[in-house]
Amino acid sequence: MAETEPVDVLKAENEKPRQFGTGYKLIGKDYPTNDLVAKVTGRAKYAEDFRAEGMLFCRLVLSPMPHARVKSIRAEKALAMPGVKAILTPAEVPGHADYINDNGTRIKADKWSELALADEPMYQGEPILAVAAVDELTCAEAIEKIEIEMEPLPFATDPLESLRPGSSNAREEGNVWVRPDSSRGPEKLAVLKWTEEDFAAEKEGRMPMGHAPDEWSYGDVDGGFKNAALVLDETFLTPDVSHQCLEPRTTMAYWQNGKLFLYTGTQSTFQTVAAIARWMHMDEDKIVFISEYTGGGFGSKITGALTLVIPALLSKKLNAPVMMRVSREEEHFIGRARPGIRARTKIGFAKDGRITAVDMFLVSDAGSYGSGGDGGSCGSIASLLYQPPAMRWRNVTMATNTPPRSAQSAPGGMQAIAIMEPILAKAARQLGVDQVALRRANCPEGKAEYGPPNREGRRAYVTSCFLKQALDLGAEQFKWRERVAQQPKRVGSKVRGLGVALSCFHGGSTGFDGLIVITPQGRVQIQSGIGNLGTEALIDVHRAAAEVLDVPWDACDIVWGDTSKHFPYTCASGGSQTVHAMTRAAHAVGLECVQRLKEVAAKTLGGQPDGYEVANLRVFRKGGGPGLSFAEAARQAIKLGGIYDGHDVNPDVNKATKQSVAALAGQGLVASAKDKYPHDGDSYSYLACFAEVETDVETGVYRIVDYLGYADVGTVLHPAALGGQILGRSTLGIGHAIGQKWVIDPQYGVTVAERFYQNKPPTILDVPVNMKWNALNIPDPETPVGARGCGEPPVGGGCASILNALSDALGDNIFQRAPVNADTILTSLEAGRPMQDPLIAHI
């Protein structure tokens, strides 16, 4: 971080929203993205739509037990069946591998990480065997002939239960993830048990609090509570929610001339190659990865996964293409999920609603593999979004024998907001402060600080925050005041309630590359290594390059989806970083391209490069003198060679970009560049979310009447796509409030709800038909286009605004966990106190 002082708070407040597209030709304008026609005609090919000559199919055998050891596998009968080609056993899969995280950092593998097939499955549903055959029917019949002897091992599916004295642990080595004191290296498992006294709070329906391995704090927490006019101490549980991408993570693999060709859906075309290489223990340049369209990811398809490895290995073994279609049931188990967090949170409030101190205690369920980061980000998001002057955060990350978790849209952030917001809503009611006013009083602004102080005693801060404006304008657009004033709240058995929630999440990273080829045909060919999740960031970000190059959009071709087409070093589409990171890279490569065009023109037509300008697919002398068309410039570049056609490369760029440039060399004017723009602070995006619900107190049924998400995401790149993101991800959050959940039988540790009708992702009739969104369009000062990502920030606000509206309608004594359904509402109303058990997992 640069040594600059945070910008003046008043200055942030003075920033005014502006109309989308102001000052740009392309940015901020709606346009149909290049992939839409293929999608709408059914021609777009997702992984399962590919076919290869002689393709075999493979199916998985899942562990029926939550924790067990595979003792023996007898497959002779299966292998003797006509059409059965091979089985793949745990003994045949490569050992533990490193992996690449969101930010492209290599994370060293540890012995506790997941393998493609498990001989000691850690959760019910974990693949333990794969069978390849000529078709799926044969696979299924073969599987039913396989005898697997398994020895059940002790297991734990409820994180809190696993902290009880004498309880069993998820693994032999322990039940809790701890970070070694010395380093920020991989975390280790240890055994942690609380005492019976620690569990005493359980009897009052409050979460017990024992020792927590993770802790940070800042400010005078005790003093904050002492000086508070109101202190609330609440227990709340957020649900474990599967990503449930509509496209299952089906994969097809084949080998040709020693190269592995893999087809699957991913959140990063570029970064997945390195991950596959690590899983497979092979070189990156022996892998061709094809992922043209991806049917949803939400954090669950960030890079490589076991689903890629299994067909790849079987294909190698059988020397034939292998398709592994993943069923919806398998998807439930291997498809990742958000960790549920049970929290005990104490917040002190001053009379005016200003927070004086926060004490947050979390027990997060990391599932069967890895510790995840949700607990940690839960703490930092709470500290950013509500700006408490003093805060303590404690966290216990539990390993359980439940399906593996991963980042899901706003990992930790969603939980933080769902945990904090209902307490704020309750405080506003008890203090008699307006809900919007209370949030305004605690709202971050400008270069707001967050998280714990580092070793030098300094806290991190954000690039910019204009959330107050979003809150004010949102309240205005939602007619908050008018709605609050509307009486009566209750008509017959129907009661209306209003909710507002702040929301934020990480919104961008830096340091990636852009790569453009201007072809001899005069086309601007932009290489995009972004995964195609349909957020259209894949295409939208390159509008920044086109804007800089001042070319009409229809002269641009985006090349994507197949690593044999050569991509620059690109971020994974996770953590809402793409729009921010890749508009920067696109901007950089656009400028680089302009510069090279000018140089080519100068070398061809004489004069200095500075004497030229670029517009309308031409480079020409300033003031409209002679020039070259892009097509001519490209041909000149090929003639000039060297840096102009890719035979030399910009030394700044990443190794992978250099390889791509080399591969494209000679095809036209090849420009590459790295994002080296300054960046002071961490990029976050923000929303103010508003909701109205109508509940029926006789049935407990409620419906969402209205919803508005008002975003502060910097410059709006593509309004329609942004709108989709704001409302889509708000609905993802709303799903957590209104129904999505897991159900696991604790006796057997087996999931009993694995179907959509049991897990209940929201349908079109569960949300208002006309949800609304808006955005400030105030550029972020720390990035050239000013755009930040918005995939994840809405999730927490979506969830919390609904929860807050429900408690506005029905009072504070309704829920202690999400989701909230008719059952909870009805029994709680009946009893006059929350009747949900907040401490039992997976009901």
Partner: protein
Amino acid sequence: MRFIQWATSPWGQSVPTHIAWGLIWVAAIAGLFFMVVHSLYLIVVKPPKRFAERAAEASAAGIPERVPRHTLAARLFHWIMAASMFTLLFTAFLPKVGIQFNWVLYHWIAGVVLTVSILYHIVHASFFLDFWSIWPDRTDLRDAMNRTMRFFGKEAPPPSKFAKYPLENKLYHGVVMLAGLAVIVTGLFMMKRVQTGVFTRNPYLFSDMTWGLMYVLHGLAGVGFIALALMHVYMGIRPEKLPITKSMIFGWMSRDFYLEEHDTGRWAVKGSGPKAKEGYAARDGD
């Protein structure tokens, strides 16, 4: 045929769940087969009188016309047990052969009645009746041996007469006791698996395998009772056994029958009158 029904547990393991219901028919046929064979044996072979000549019966004079055999309490127990047993059999097996009705409630209630009556019987027989009268003794074994030898035409002394109960009766009691204990113990545990209002339901007292075996044992003993009940009823209505059946209804048997079948030495019935009451009451059993 498979004797046990297997199922795949939630953990994918094979666990027994029940006996194969076809065993109902096996048991019924076995019971009927016994009747037919036994009847044919009596009709065709016409076995000679089994017992040795009457020994000197010095005490016969003191024997009353009506030899008291079963106390009212013992008889009540027997018939309550019989009623509950039939209820149990019918409620258990009629639904399995296609006659559907609300059986579980009656079944467990009958089971509780049976259990209570058996408990009463154990206490009653152990402390108030001649406990040993129902167990085979050395004489029974020797006689059984002799009878077998004679059946095969070998030389053997004629067996002596019965004590209070014939050996068959004693053996039957033994088998019924074992089967009864099996159904009762397993049945009581099984009540933890249904809503009875007596216990909270908890099917997880034992492992799936243990439970499965328990159900199989319950089932095996249950179908065993089909055969046993058929045999018992058959014996109860055989003309030559009717005096014994009558005694279970009225409490006494005739002096003639007593002298004919029973060894006064092994089952001493003392003289009539108020004094005698003590005597036989103390030695009565059933």
